[in-house]
Symmetry: C2
DNA sequence: GCCACCACTGGTGTATACATATGATGCGCC
DNA sequence: GGCGCATCATATGTATACACCAGTGGTGGC
């Protein structure tokens, strides 16, 4: 487990009060998304417990939840490891999100209160600014916020929750398979265009915006035969 | 907790060897589906542990998993209870399953090996027989098996897993909201028709079959204003 | 020199004890 | 008689101890 990450976690812990399993889940999620915990990283219960200052009971619950989110791999009698989805799963995850988020956009078009629309607009503006300032972490944060707003305020809570999960999973594989040398996954105008169609209530156009957006996003990934090399590395390298 | 159920569980335990959290998950799922554990039923950890002959550690893990499947409601410092989805969630769950299973049927059409097609055909035949014999539990088992086969053998494993979850959730609400006095939710011919379209590779027709099937199924439910009475009952009655 | 076996270490699986929160009950006061 | 508060029973939250399992390295036999 990375030491830098450990330091950061400790800092956050000092600030807050007691640590619950939910906190651990959030922290690990964030670290995996930011690739501070690369795929294959071992996550022993005792070590995590020491890092967070809690006992194995709490850690176990957190790991179980992370496993149900497909963030870590938990096998009987073996240490939990950060999951490493292969290219097939990546394509399938994108296809699933395309279906769910497209439908959700169509369902949601024309139903959002102006407060939410303004939140989305604000995020889209700040995403563009972050992109221009070359601040990729901030850009990602704002981009994710837009999609999460759509998930949270959709009229179908069941599909909304499913989308929340899929956003996480796609974010992980984007971080994993982003084409080398590509500074940002920003798609100029996509979010603003979607916003206008959501505002005007054009369901078909909104669905189309989402589908096109996700297709473009997946197009920025490197899903070629390189995957065999990755699998090999994770098998041979171990610690990554 | 129902005593009859306790007896049945004990019987199954005697037969098998040791009990793991997965076994508990399966048993509780089954009991909820069969309404042997009605919504609102309290599921204290110690009691469950005594029933299954294991300690709270195992039970806790099982309950966490059941909560992530939306079968039970787990709130901090309170006993876990069997969840009771309201009519809104019921409609949304059906809408979600309609979307996912429709897409999956379209994706899967024409790709299934003949062994799987024969399994589906066998289940459809036996479902009809069970219906004619008025054996509703068997009919439900075969019906579920068909949809699970579709989920398991679809080319998209991510969507397939999502469908597996949605089948469970819709089954629960079907048991909950089935119109009183309705003996069976059998829809004559639906599964055989779907089978033929899957076999011939007609994606559009397969999707249409699924969507029509689920619409008809939801039509058999009683989702009227009666729900207010149900909520009232569960609030006032407590033990249900 | 190579293969099989064995002990060891690191880690999870499970049970249990203690701390703490929550809902119910019954008493006393108003 | 009704309302509020103390008290208790019940159940969960957390930590910890012990048993078991898996991978690993070394060692002895062949």
């Amino acid at each position: 487990m990375s030491n830098a990450w450990q330091q950061e976690v400790l800092a956050e812990i000092k600030a807050g009060g007691r640590i619950s399993d939910g906190d651990i889940v959030r922290q690990v999620r964030r670290a995996v998304l930011a690739q501070r915990l690369p795929p294959g990283t071992r996550l022993p219960e005792v070590t995590l417990g020491e890092v967070f200052g809690v006992s194995r009971s709490v850690v176990r619950k957190a790991l179980t939840r992370l496993a149900s989110e497909y963030v870590v791999d938990q096998r009987p009698n073996q240490v939990a490891r950060v999951r490493s989805p292969d290219v097939d799963e990546t394509r399938q995850t994108f296809a699933a999100r395309r279906l769910v988020e497209g439908e959700l956009a169509a369902l949601t078009a024309g139903t959002l209160p102006s407060t939410v629309l303004l939140q989305i607009e604000d995020r889209a503006d700040r995403e563009r600014q972050a992109f221009l300032a070359n601040d990729e972490p901030s850009r990602i944060e704002h981009s994710l916020a837009i999609h999460h707003l759509l998930a949270e305020h959709s009229p179908n809570r069941v599909l909304g929750t499913m989308l929340t999960d899929l956003i996480l999973r796609t974010s992980i594989v984007i971080a994993l398979y982003k084409r080398q040398g590509l500074g940002s996954c920003y798609l100029e105008g996509d979010h603003h265009r979607l916003l206008e169609h959501l505002r005007s209530g054009d369901a078909a156009a909104s669905r189309n915006d989402i589908e096109h957006h996700l297709d473009s996003l997946m197009g920025l990934l490197d899903l070629g035969p390189r995957d065999s090399r990755i699998d090999l590395k994770s098998i041979l390298g171990g610690e990554g």
